[in-house]
């Protein structure tokens, strides 16, 4: 369990965290999600002890940690740019925390072998980080963090420096790993899709405040405000209200409550089709539909279509 209570952190005039409180349940995988400058990385670094909060308390595993240095917090930290020890082999990187703790050699060896197996780097013992790909380096960094059997695992944009393909793979892999290892994990990301795919618990931050905490589906379906709604998925604006583009229904003939619109552009993204429409009011709206729906409507640029926006399905709650 990680508890953050009323934490404030400033950098000069910039308020990175403003009276933030949060509880991360044991064994969960929680994502801190927000745009850059929202304070999500600072919050993670405060939990790790890499930044000292100006005010507030931090508890890690039931222990008051506010004044503990990072060495004594029992946290595993994974950095965006891996922070691999470049002059050490993969073996020595992973063994680092155990060597510092002066564990017996055979115990260290067994642990390193086990972890390299777990992260899919068995047989890479004698390589140097420079001889690994980005994805491999990050898995090595993860093994290094897990070697000390930390109470919590903190990941700071761990896939941020990787190619899109590698990212997607590692995301799925991290989720499986977590199901195997069960260590309480906090992941910082600015990518809502990544957060929703990996985490069972989302924390949405903006400008040093927590906007909403909840399960991905809950946040998607019942966003606390327009910011969360806009950040957690695509939105279209209809008559001043935000709606999800997939909640806009299209029809090729006039139906009840529908209004006329002109198709300005149709974008095919594989399974998903995005239609940019212009309403009678001159407002432009984006609708999202499946490929088969689009095929049935035979959507073409310049065509007239009837659209019906949802009345309530994704309306923002009034906070």
């Amino acid at each position: 369990m990680i508890k953050v209570h009323a934490v404030t952190k400033r950098f000069g005039d910039f308020i990175a965290l403003d009276d933030v409180s949060l509880e991360v349940p044991d064994g969960s995988l929680t994502a801190l999600l927000g745009p850059s400058g929202s304070g999500k990385s600072t919050l993670l670094r405060v939990i790790a002890g890499l930044e000292a909060p100006d005010r507030g308390e931090v508890e890690v595993g039931g222990e008051h940690a506010t004044h503990l240095p990072p060495q004594e917090r029992d946290v595993g930290f994974v950095f965006q740019h891996y922070a691999a020890f470049k002059h050490m082999t993969v073996r020595d990187n992973v063994a680092f925390g155990l060597t510092i703790r002066k564990r017996p050699k055979d115990q260290i060896k067994a642990k390193v072998d086990e972890l390299l197996e777990l992260v899919g780097l068995a047989g890479f013992h004698s390589r140097y980080p420079g001889q690994l790909s980005g994805g491999q380096r990050q898995r090595m960094a993860l093994a290094r963090a897990l070697a000390i059997e930390p109470r919590v695992l903190l990941l700071d944009e761990p896939f941020g420096a990787l190619d899109a393909n590698v990212r997607a793979d590692l995301r799925a892999w991290l989720r499986r790993l977590h199901d195997e290892v069960h260590v309480t994990t906090v992941l910082v990301t600015h990518d809502q899709e990544e957060a929703m795919e990996v985490a069972e618990n989302l924390v949405v931050l903006r400008d040093g405040h927590i906007e909403q905490v909840g399960a991905p589906r809950e946040i998607y379906e019942r966003p606390a405000n327009e910011f969360v709604m806009g950040f957690i998925g695509p939105v279209s604006q209809v008559d001043g209200t935000l709606v999800r583009p997939h909640d806009i229904a299209l029809s090729d003939k006039p139906v009840d409550g529908a209004e006329k619109a002109t198709v300005q552009r149709v974008v095919h993204l594989g399974f998903e089709v995005r239609a940019e429409l212009i309403r009678g009011t001159g407002e432009s709206v984006v609708a999202q539909l499946t490929k088969s729906e689009a095929d049935a409507l035979d959507l073409r640029d310049g065509e007239t279509i009837w659209l019906r926006s949802p009345t309530r399905s994704a309306e923002p709650l009034s906070a």
């Binding site: 790790a48 890499l50 990072p70 930290f77 950095f79 922070a83 020890f85 470049k86 510092i100 290094r144």
Partner: protein, 270 residues
């Protein structure tokens, strides 16, 4: 097209080589030629006089004190400059470069004013039986001053480039500040450090201006190799001056060769 660029490339190389030859190789070559003009035995005799042996060991002693001290100071200063946040950092940064900016002879005079008879500290030190000026401590001080920037200036950019994430990672893995320095930071900066030490060593051995002011040039006592060369030259003992110069040049070559080896190993490992 190819032949013209080939020709111009050759011309450029020739110019570069000629420049090196005229300015570096020929003068050094002449020194060696003149040194061995009268045979090896004359050279041997000339560099084994008591004054020459004393000068050689004094130079060695001064270097062995000044360089390790500056290596430690340089690493600390680089860490403070790159990692630290403290008031007056810019001033500190500029101060480290002072020995590069100030003429060595001025450094010598400044030391004389502070530690010499009638100087700020000199009288007090002399009353307590410590002679700095015209003695080995003065030569060491001058050499430390002159070679102060090298290690800091070589190590700081390396530290900046490696960033502090590796150090933070080590901290979260349980390493103390000292363990982090020894196991993570030091190996990462080792080439910069070695390079800085080699440069400091070369400079310490070759220093003349500042040392000549504070040493008092007492033959067999406070005379370094460079001062010996000067004295022999002034006394029209050209053969002796050349022999001592050759000895200095050999030490410089050994230092340079060491540096080249270090560079080569660095290229091999990266």
């Amino acid at each position: 097209m190819t032949s013209t660029s080939r020709a111009s490339r050759l011309t450029l190389r020739l110019i570069a080589l000629a420049y090196l030859a005229v300015l570096l190789v020929v003068p050094v070559g002449v020194v060696f030629y003149r040194t061995f003009e009268h045979g090896v035995i004359a050279v041997y005799d000339s560099i084994t006089t008591p004054a020459a042996i004393s000068a050689f060991f004094l130079t060695l002693e001064v270097t062995l004190i000044a360089v390790p001290l500056n290596a430690i100071f340089g690493v600390l200063a680089a860490i403070a400059l790159v990692r630290g946040r403290f008031p007056g950092k810019r001033l500190f940064d500029a101060l480290i470069d002072l020995p590069f900016a100030v003429s060595p002879i001025v450094v010598g005079l400044a030391l004389l004013l502070i530690y010499g008879r009638g100087g700020w500290l000199g009288d007090w030190l002399l009353d307590n039986g410590i002679q700095v000026v015209f003695s080995t401590p003065g030569i060491v001080l001058a050499t430390i001053f002159i070679t102060l920037p090298f290690v800091a200036r070589e190590v700081a950019p390396v530290l900046r480039e490696i960033g502090d994430e590796q150090e933070q990672a080590a901290a979260t893995l349980g390493a103390s500040a000292w363990q982090t320095f020894r196991r993570v930071t030091l190996p990462a900066i080792r080439w910069g450090l070695i390079y800085g030490v080699v440069l400091s060593t070369a400079r310490a051995i070759g220093e003349f201006g500042a040392v000549s002011v504070v040493s008092g040039k007492i033959g067999g006592e406070t005379e370094t190799l460079t001062l010996l060369v000067e004295k022999r030259f002034q006394n029209f003992d050209l053969a002796g001056a050349y022999a001592a110069s050759a000895l200095l040049a050999v030490i410089a070559f050994v230092t340079l060769a060491g540096m080249t080896l270090v560079n080569k190993r660095e290229e091999d490992t990266t």
